[in-house]
Amino acid sequence: MSETLSKLEAADFINRTFKPLPRSYGDALIDAALKNARIVCLSADLTPPTETDRFRDELPDRFHNVGIAEANMIGIAGGMARSGEIPFVHSFCAFVTKRCLDQITMQAAYPNLPVKIVGFLPGVATILGVSHQAIEDVALMRSVPNMMVLEPSGPQYHAAAVQLALEHDGPVYLRMKRPEKITEDPITQLPLAYGKGVVQRAGNDVTIIAAGLEVVEALGAAELLSHEGIDAAVVDMHTIKPIDRDLILERASATGAIVTAENHNVIGGLGSAVAEVLADAGIGLPFKRVGVQDHFCEGGSTDYLLKKFGLDSSAIAIACRELMKRKT
């Protein structure tokens, strides 16, 4: 039993398997840091849960755990960025945005400094409950001038997201979800182009524009719909700001109906961003936002929450069917 006891430390609630999960983001950050000596890493006492434990161990003089003090961490990052560093700051999405919005606006965004704000536990997808759920963070970060907002759709894009964050010479909010299970095959990293959404599935009847974990749900919805003769396209809008205006307008004219899907409140996030592009262009068309319908949520397993709060593939499919009726 003593052998068991020495292995009793559990990193976090994300990893329920006790086998090491891939650290796509953490590994990519180390690779970037080895190439760029300006990169430093900050944690507010959430190091393994933000995949920065390897960074802590391998580049200790460039790693700072500043304690459980997120607002202070942003101010510190602003100071470091003014001094030539490129700080990547880490916590859960809720704490690294909502809790320090004022510090973000004044000490990172207004001086347009390269502070890269990295959050895990996006949206409702956590057992940790309402205090740890970030359903307002995209809205907040999107409304901050100079801020770029990125939400890759899976670990295969985490390295590309680090590159995009570095390409943007200013503050960035990078919203990510760790895998919950170990995958059989190693994850192959895929590229992303700055400001360009990825068409993950072609289709002529309706376009689902999704971000983050909703991309997988959207692909599931498109699959369901294909059996009913509805040909749905899926766009992975990994960069929510600056948003790919051209692609949205092209999709509007190609399919004449748009559903957005986001792991976030429907106010102020991806759905709002897409609606703004359409309205600004004077386009009215059948349109629906799948997301949290402006209420607080609760903790639970991801599948349970996506179903309960209408964020799963079947909810997206229902929205698409409705639009198909409105089209005719």
């Binding site: 068991t4 006492d45 304690g67 205090s131 609760e298």
Partner: protein, 279 residues
């Protein structure tokens, strides 16, 4: 005569053991959780909920109740076990802990009921709320007392110090902070991340009456609460030094924020606690 002499300590110790057994049984099914904190804080919860605080489980919204704010809202196994044993709800509900749909979430929130005085899963916020309640009580002439259980890691949040400064400046003697000083935060031992020492000197300089007690000694805790109650013109700060895993010999002193809790470890912990209850 000390206050603890008035109480039946043996009975309280039995309660604390029962609470520890609940913690083990509640966390075991998910195979990981806040076991170490729960076992470590069982004596604080026993002393506060069963000995000190003035409350009525049949009337949880009673206006003149004492309020207890658990600001380390993740320490829920011991919290829910305490509420159940104290009679706020049926202890059968404890088996739903951390299950989909259950209000007994890993982080406590007020959808559970009025005995969650504020939703505190975001660390560092609860003390401010308690200060606000304590100030309102003063203005309204209420006799309620306000207890806050803080984490030592949580005390790194700046908001704690803003709230403490105001509590000291206003002399809120209806407020009593208890820090669960288990010396562990998420990354590991506190001094590995950032020391908050000398903590007692800091709190004293912020205007608190400071007591340093063994947080696993129910009698010492009860005495400290009664000193706090009798202290006028100042808020109280109790540094309760707790041992992670207290009461289960194989777990005592394992300084892990989250513990893997495989079946064989849970079984032996359960056996040890059951034997203690029977003795």
């Amino acid at each position: 005569m000390s206050a603890s002499a008035n109480h039946n300590l043996r009975e309280y110790e039995q309660i604390a053991t029962r609470l520890r057994l609940h913690v083990v049984n509640m966390v075991a099914p998910s195979g990981q959780g806040y076991v170490q904190q729960g076992l470590g804080a069982a004596d604080i919860f026993t002393a506060l909920y069963f000995g000190e605080a003035n409350m009525d489980p049949a009337n949880p919204t009673w206006e003149d109740r004492d309020r207890i704010f658990l600001t380390t809202a993740h320490n829920t196994a011991i919290f829910y076990a305490t509420l159940g044993e104290r009679g706020f709800f049926d202890t059968n509900l404890l088996t739903t802990y951390v299950q989909d749909g259950s209000a007994l979430e890993i982080n406590s929130c007020e959808r559970m009921g009025p005995f969650v005085e504020a939703t505190c899963g975001s660390l560092g916020q609860g003390l401010s709320v308690a200060v606000g309640c304590a100030m309102a009580a003063k203005r309204q002439g209420r006799s309620s007392r306000y207890y806050v259980i803080l984490g030592d890691g949580e005390m790194q949040e700046g908001q704690i110090w803003e709230a403490a400064m105001l509590a000291g400046a206003r002399g809120l003697d209806n407020l009593c902070l208890i820090v669960d000083y288990n010396f562990v935060q998420s990354e590991g031992p506190m001094d590995l991340v950032m020391s908050i020492e000398p903590l007692n000197d800091k709190m004293q300089s912020f205007g608190f009456d400071v007591q340093d007690v063994d947080g696993n000694d129910i009698g010492a805790l009860l005495d400290a609460f009664s000193v706090a109650r009798e202290t006028k013109g100042k808020p109280s700060f109790i540094k309760a030094n707790t041992l992670m895993g207290k009461g289960v010999s194989s777990l005592e002193g394992l300084m892990f924020h989250q513990l893997r809790f495989p079946k064989e470890v849970a079984d032996s912990a359960r056996a040890e606690l059951e034997a203690k209850l029977a003795s």
